[in-house]
């Protein structure tokens, strides 16, 4: 083996680090709140876009007693590390006069494509505390506006000033290790380097919970349990 090949091999080995997936479930304990119907009467076009009742996504308890729309992210353990910003934009759609998805995560400086799929005027008003606010209107169906936040901030509320029931939350982080729980209450944070971390789960109505854990090359599990208020 030539010296240079051996050097490259040693260099590769020395820089190789192990990583695993952090998976988990967001459990819900207690009585599930009564689903809140949204009254869209102030805009006939919003009413016309739904056949039945529209239920608020603020607290969504899944059929298996888990919670949807919980933002889970690594809070501590990644200090000093830098990660490239994804080039793909994350979509935030306004459809049927609701935000879809209700909760999203992005990296700082990553593009967020805000789309109006409704045939009515929406106003997108972001209310961050650390980043500059923006307040833009999208009067026409199909309009798309790209925005981004430069600083990490959990969470940024986005609301529509025209339709008071419309709100969404964006988690902005300087790393890619976050996820949102799905309609089974599951989440997966992929490719987290082995090490010790503090992970936080955030829910817009039920508060936050943190967990300290160790991730190995086989991954780790983190289950959270929120109690109904």
């Amino acid at each position: 083996m030539k010296k240079s090949t051996l050097f490259l091999f040693i260099f590769f080995i020395s820089n190789l680090s192990y990583s695993g997936n952090l998976t988990g479930k967001i459990n819900f304990k207690g009585a599930a709140p009564k689903p809140q119907k949204i009254k869209m009467n102030s805009d006939a076009k919003c009413v016309a876009s739904h056949k039945g009742d529209v239920i608020s996504e603020q607290v969504v308890v899944n059929s298996n007693n888990t919670l949807k729309n919980v933002f889970v992210y690594v809070k501590k353990g990644l200090e000093g590390k830098k990660f490239p910003t994804p080039k793909d934009a994350v979509a935030l759609n306004q459809q049927g006069c609701t935000y879809s998805p209700h909760v999203i995560g992005v990296m700082a400086n990553q593009k967020i494509d805000i789309i109006n799929s409704d045939n009515t005027l929406h106003n997108v008003h972001a209310l961050p505390k650390s980043n500059p606010q923006f307040n833009i209107a999208q009067p026409k169906q199909g309009m798309k506006t790209s925005k981004s936040f430069t600083k990490s901030e959990v969470m940024v509320k986005v609301k529509c000033d025209v339709h008071s029931w419309m709100s969404s939350y964006i988690g902005v982080l300087d790393h890619p290790f976050y996820a949102v729980s799905d309609d089974k209450g599951n989440f997966t944070i992929k490719n987290l380097t082995a090490g010790d971390y503090e992970v936080e789960a955030w829910h817009e109505k039920l508060g936050v919970q943190t967990l300290k854990l160790k991730v190995t090359d086989k991954g780790a599990t983190a289950d959270f349990t929120f109690e109904g208020k």
């Binding site: 005027l121 009067p139 309009m143 506006t145 609301k159």
Partner: protein, 614 residues
């Protein structure tokens, strides 16, 4: 002050001039450009109102500006002159319009956003009132004509006069710059009501700074006018021999001097609210976008702004109207060849109107819940102020009776002013009564009403003045055929724009609606008028091209005339040359022996006797 030509540098003679005539021309050109820009903004708005959310055909709006700009720039082979200054300004305006309209924050894919519409609305009002009509009526006409009509060598304080223009210029530029800051220009309406304006984007801060300069300019100018008229009248020119135009400028100056300081104070207070964390106009417990304001903010009252604003802004209406009445009076007297009917009544009515204009302001605020006692007071004063207005208008109409009327372009504009201002005034009465105001407040009816007062009202009078005094500046008349096309086109178009507003307003359509009322059930039956009005607005723009071409073409090609082409009696025509001498104005200091309108004097061989003729 002597009247010989000084050898002054170009900069001192034409840029930082202290000569009232050059300053008047500076005011005139600048304010006409602002009028054009303010009008341009509304032609863009009218696209959105006629065809909501449809892509804006930018080229159709920008190319005409660019075309006229290029023609004016090259019309005399790139020589420096008024035409090239205006040409470059129009090209710049086209460029700025292009830039502003293609920004994604304003018009993504050429679709106008509501926040940009709000900017256009607020800046249209601000520019037309504070940067267009007032500086043209007072700054331009007042500066150029008043010293000539009173036989004065210049304004009393030439340096103050120069400062006044440059304050105005800086204020205007500040307003224009505001389109380029984050969030764009001011977007809280031309009235800038808090708390909205207190929490608005950066453009509002620049609006306030701009207003401070504009108000300072008006204060400097008004002091100068008052002193000039009191101190520098020619020998024999008693107050009751003053041309009515001078009287209107005199009263206007008092209004500016006394009404503007409260707004300047209010503007500074609002500026402090925005930049220094004070709460003069922010109430306690205010919730913005669902979030309560911090506990240390609050305790102020938004209504205070409304009182301070309208304490200026109602007299401001008369600042817009009085010089216009003065111009119309001059043109009517001259073209009917008979004295103004009831000259003394006109003067007393104007003074009374000036006083009354300070105690009617809260008729703009009936909806604020001031209470029925206060409402009753302001309703009564509002009804009273209509009396001198009717006296003035009636005197003008009666002046026509029995006259051998000369129908020329200035007279056409002056004649049209009378019924248009009449409609504007009469439609104001239901707004002055709190009961009917409940229905009409903040509807298009209000827009129709005040545009009848200011657009086919004041602006027609200003056109009359431009056509009438043009020979004074250039020794040439403007082209009559082009002038008449300009008049008839504008006359029809103005009514096509503003009359439907009254209909929409009576139907309850609110002003400041981004979609022109499309989403409101009660507006559906009158929505078709939006397109009609927009076509009217664009037609009005088309007919202004005849004016612009005429204005510049006539400088060299207009019919050459003698020093008194209209056979007028006042000193501006009779005792000076066209164009007037540099400093000093008059070859011989004039002396006045008679009243201002001695037309068709029995026994006289001519049908007019100049004021300075013994």
């Amino acid at each position: 002050m002597d009247n010989h030509q000084h050898h002054e540098s170009f900069v001192k003679k034409y840029i930082f001039s202290q000569d009232h005539k050059i300053i008047g021309i500076q005011y005139g050109i600048t304010s006409l450009l602002f009028l054009l820009f303010g009008f341009y903004l509304v032609t863009v708005m009218r696209w959105q109102l006629a065809y909501p959310m449809e892509a804006f055909p930018l080229e159709r709006f920008v190319y005409p500006l660019l075309g006229i700009g290029v023609i004016l720039l090259f019309i005399r082979g790139l020589k420096i002159g008024i035409h090239s200054v205006v040409g470059v300004s129009l090209i710049l305006l086209a460029g700025v319009s292009w830039y502003v309209a293609t920004r994604d924050e304003n018009m993504p894919n050429r679709i106008m956003l509501p926040e940009f519409y709000n900017q256009l609305g607020a800046m249209h009002g601000t520019i037309m009132v504070f940067l267009g009509v007032v500086p043209l009526a007072v700054g331009a006409f007042g500066n150029y004509i008043v010293p000539l009509q009173i036989g004065a060598p210049d304004m009393a304080f030439p340096k103050l006069n120069m400062s006044s223009y440059w304050c105005f210029f800086v204020g205007g530029v500040t307003m224009l710059v505001s389109f380029f800051v984050p969030g764009g220009a001011a977007n809280s309406g031309w009235t800038s009501y808090p708390p909205l304006s207190d929490i608005a984007t950066t453009g509002q801060t620049l609006w306030l700074l701009g207003m401070v300069f504009l108000i300072t300019s008006s204060l400097l100018g008004s002091v100068n006018f008052i002193i000039t008229i009191v101190q520098l009248r020619a020998k024999g020119l008693s107050f009751m021999r003053l041309p009515f135009f001078v009287w209107t400028q005199f009263v206007t100056s008092f209004l500016l001097l006394l009404a503007f300081p409260p707004l300047e104070a209010a503007g500074i207070l609002q500026l402090m609210d925005r930049v220094a964390g004070t709460s003069f106009f922010l109430p306690s417990g205010l919730v913005v976008s669902g979030d309560p304001l911090p506990a240390n903010i609050g305790g102020g009252t938004p209504l205070l702004w409304q009182h301070l604003f309208w304490f200026l802004a109602h007299p401001e209406v008369y600042v817009l109207i009085l010089p216009a009445l003065g111009i119309v009076a001059e043109v009517i007297a001259n073209n009917t060849r008979k004295p103004l009917w009831g000259y003394k009544s006109l003067v007393y009515a104007t003074i009374f109107l000036g006083f009354m204009s300070f105690i009617v302001w809260a008729h703009h605020m009936f909806m604020t819940g001031m209470g029925s006692t206060i409402n009753a007071f302001f309703q009564i004063t509002t009804m009273i102020i209509s009396i001198p207005s009717i006296v003035i208008l009636s005197a003008m109409f009666l002046s026509l009776y029995g006259g051998s009327i000369r129908i020329n372009t200035p007279m056409l504009f002056a004649l049209a002013f009378l019924p248009m201002f009449g409609i504007g005034g009469l439609t104001g009465l239901p707004l002055g009564l709190s009961t009917s105001d409940i229905h009409l407040h903040d509807t298009y009816y209000v827009i129709g009403h005040f545009h009848y007062v200011v657009a086919p009202g004041t602006i027609f009078a200003l056109f009359a003045g431009i056509y009438y005094w043009y020979p004074k500046l250039t020794k040439r008349k403007m082209n009559e055929a082009l002038g008449k096309i300009h008049f008839w086109g504008s006359f029809v178009a103005m009514n096509v724009i503003f009359f439907p507003m009254l209909i929409q307003g009576l139907a309850g359509v609110s002003r400041r609606l981004y979609d022109g009322g499309q989403t409101y059930a009660h507006a559906q039956s009158v929505l078709y008028l939006n397109e009609v009005m927009s076509i009217g607005a664009w037609s009005l723009a088309f007919f202004q091209m005849f004016f612009i071409v005429n204005l510049f073409l006539s400088i060299k090609k207009g019919k050459e005339v003698d020093d008194n082409p209209w056979e007028a009696t006042t000193l501006d025509w009779a005792a000076t040359t066209s164009p007037p001498l540099a400093h000093g104005n008059f070859a011989q200091v004039p002396e006045v022996y008679r009243g201002p309108y001695e037309y068709s004097v029995p026994g006289s061989d001519k049908d007019f006797i100049p004021q300075h003729q013994q």
